[in-house]
Point group: C2
Chain length 111, copies 2
DNA sequence: ATTTTATATCGCAAATATACGATTAGAGGA
DNA sequence: TCCTCTAATCGTATATTTGCGATATAAAAT
């Protein structure tokens, strides 16, 4: 294939896919869970909780941040992360719109 | 790395990640959209709509089916697919549970 | 100034995913 | 029976992801 054809799809389709992709790994789900549970933002605590090396966790955090699912700020020698609730609401809303809305008229089984 | 450490996470984390992964590609989002829009179940129409080769579309359909997001049945010489609304509700519910529930108590900004 | 502590980044190896053409399989129709 | 149409699967090239150790960076502590 050589070429990934993401460009051939609509921006909204790409955005939804990117959002899903950011959550498409159990480690990142686990990170989001930790961030959601603790009111304050965590950094290296995540490394202690997850069964992964520090560098790997850092990489997952970077992906989540790039995707916009979490925010991060430097706090002295350590980094602080937290969930970007706005982004979450936006995407969850789009998923709901895309599928829940259509569900109503389609409820009956096909095939 | 050689080893994917999925096993090191909880079943629920793995399930959510697998669900997200199934939607982590714009082509699959587009397929789900088509299936959601048409009341009856489609097969090769998807190939006409998407800018991808038949074999590629078939592969995406297989992934969606394996992940449980769609159902498929053979109808003579052609295949018929439709969205598995039950699975959708289940996963959307889990996402909402995981994040919306926690949002309430965390609304304030951190970092 | 040196050492510790906390993170990010680099480089690499292995696993997966993406895409397509070619081939296969099965149902209908000529 | 032979051909056609639809869809799945195989083989393969390339791209991306995952994971870790090693290294770099930067603030705090000694």
């Amino acid at each position: 294939m050589a070429i990934h054809k993401k460009e051939a799809f609509t921006q909204k389709e790409q955005d939804l896919a990117a959002f899903a992709k950011a959550m498409a790994h159990p480690a990142r789900i686990a990170i989001l869970k930790v961030l959601a549970q603790r009111n304050e933002c965590i950094c290296g605590e995540i490394v202690d909780i997850l069964p992964l090396a520090q560098s790997t966790v850092s990489q997952h955090l970077k992906e989540l941040k790039t995707a916009g699912l979490i925010d991060g700020s430097i706090d002295g020698p350590r980094s602080c992360y937290c969930i970007n609730w706005k982004a979450f609401e936006k995407f969850m809303g789009e998923f709901s719109f895309l599928f829940n809305k259509l569900k109503v008229q389609n409820e009956k089984a096909c095939c």
